[in-house]
Symmetry: C2
DNA sequence: CTGAAAGCGCTTACAG
DNA sequence: CTGAAAGCGCTTACAG
């Protein structure tokens, strides 16, 4: 690798002068500047960022810890982080816990997670990253997972109970409210809900949004219309069967994710009914499959890329000691209309 | 951050001695060793990797350039890279071209790609990575995209014409041969093929595999059975309609990816026929949607994670100047049987 | 306008 | 067994 000394020798100047022209500081004569610039160009000199980092005590690296890069939310969030980082001249040190795979597709206990996260955290610290973004696999509480330290950290797709921690998530309740309202506007008054696991804050918040939309429109809340699934296709299928076997059958079903929505659609078809004509189905997440099942699924799109961007921007502000007016962020979701909802009016 | 000097002061020894105990080199008295170790533990000392890197001229960082992290193949490949890197104590500097998004979901020309890749490449070089893995979006020739340099680089999910370059891909022809043979073994003799774009080497190789299996089994190759799509759902749908409108209708259809297979299934259903009872459909890629469409799609699973691992292992060998016996690798695909194929026997 | 020198946090011959 | 010193490639007061 060619270094600053090589340039200096070639130009018959000191390394200080070369450094000055590279960084546009100090007074340098126009002649020498040109000469040096020419040489730099000729030899395609690339400054050694490692040396700069050591000297300036500033790496321009930020670390990301992702709980599992194979899970659908990770790539888009990383995409957003990368886009924002690029703008700020920051590099990304990527680290993956592989939580799902290492634990038979089950979400491990917090203590197990800690074991997996700690070495990655230390690795990042050793590499002198200027901040860390932690990407969760679920919107869940991970208080205490990452040890306290002076290094700035922002959590996304998860959160902590610590009021000093930064986190960026999406607005579960608002999204659920929005999609319920959408169904109501389409004339639906009997709306089934297939929730995720009940120990999930997302399930809870989305239930709240559902109820809020109902009561705002003076619609009766019917407890028989809400069934609890486990986020998987099969549970969507089964819970929909339950819904279909009741006296009152909903005209629309909200599944709290696309997988369960796909199961719901299949159950409805197997029951001899049509989607959307007999029963509308709506999902959550806007995963790839939602465009390819039949009918194409109307669903809520998560602001994944935006979450990544936002997390990076906040991190950059903390890093630069800008005042950050807010610690917990919730970004809005967007409805994507496809073919699984029929208007009753 | 606590540094080696702080430890030395606390222990009343020189920094050289501290360094020696940290790295287990040189003779150090048992007493002093213990004392130093204790202090290191107490203050939770983490060595500054940046300083080590500069001194040792060795960063233990490897760079990855991914053409688009939002594309389905990227996360699993990165997963594999990360797993192998972790074993070797390497960190990953991740870089994303965002090729698709920046170009309206079209694959840009090679010169445009170059423009996007070069700054990322330089960034990685500046950061003194010890090698680079380049992850393509398609199995395609990207000769000349990355400038020549002494830094080791291995290409995956793409390749170059340069015989000195390393690349790891999967075995298109073998996979296609395998799945065709599978269909034949199930009693199918009239097998349709919906290919991807014809300028793709994957399309060509898969066509070869298809033909090879046919001729090995003394089956007539019927040119009317092969249709050219463009990898998208819609084209799978249309090409299947064409197939269905011909005199001879195949009893099985191979689509060269899952998206087109999904389109094929829908076309068959809309035509009033059943999958798999009337016509079997088989895909390629094993993307998420293949588990959730109806019927669940039998498809070829790509060895994505293995490709990432392999790429990392090769890179590590080059980096360590091990003799690498081979430059171009092709990993095998695996058939995943689900519900879209019916046995005729 | 230009350069000599110190120093970032480490490692490593070498001397004692 | 232990430590003083040089040096990795840079930047930055400071002196001239």
């Amino acid at each position: 690798m060619v270094k600053i000394k090589d340039i200096a020798d070639k130009a018959n100047v000191s390394i200080a002068t070369v450094s000055n022209v590279i960084n546009n500081r100090g007074r340098v004569g126009e002649e020498t500047r040109k000469k040096i610039l020419k040489i730099i160009d000729e030899v395609n000199y690339q400054p050694n960022e490692i040396a700069k980092s050591l000297k300036l005590n500033k790496t321009n690296d930020i670390g990301v810890i992702v709980e599992d890069i194979s899970v659908f939310n990770a790539p888009e969030i990383i995409n957003g982080i990368h886009a924002a980082a690029e703008e700020k001249g920051l590099s990304i040190l990527l680290t993956n816990m592989g939580l799902f795979k290492k634990n038979g597709n089950q979400y491990p206990e917090i203590s197990k997670c800690k074991e997996l996260a700690l070495p990655l955290f230390n690795q990042l610290v050793s590499n002198q990253v200027e901040g860390i973004i932690y990407i969760g696999i679920h919107s869940r509480d991970i208080t205490g997972l990452i040890p306290d330290s002076k290094i700035p950290i922002v959590y996304t797709y998860c959160y902590t109970k610590n009021e000093n921690d930064y986190s960026v998530n999406y607005d579960d309740e608002g999204a659920s409210y929005q999609i319920t309202k959408y169904l109501i506007n389409k004339g639906h008054t009997q709306i089934g809900l297939i929730s995720g696991l009940i120990n999930s804050v997302s399930s809870y918040a989305r239930f709240q949004g559902y109820q809020k939309a109902l009561s705002e429109q003076m619609l009766m809340f019917n407890p028989q219309f809400v069934k609890t699934g486990d986020w998987q296709y099969e549970s969507g299928y089964r819970m929909t069967q339950d819904l279909l076997n009741q006296e009152n059958i909903p005209t629309a079903i909200i599944a709290m994710n696309d997988l369960m929505a796909a199961g719901a659609i299949q159950a409805i078809k197997d029951n001899g009914r049509q989607v959307p004509n007999d029963i509308a189905v709506v999902g959550f997440d806007n995963r790839e499959l939602s465009s390819y099942i039949s009918p194409r699924l109307t669903t809520m799109s998560l602001p994944l890329e935006e979450m990544g961007k936002k997390a990076m921007e906040i991190l950059d502000q903390i890093r630069n000691k800008y005042p950050v007016n807010q610690k917990k962020y919730r970004l809005g979701c967007q409805l994507v209309e496809r073919d699984s909802v029929y208007s009753l009016e």
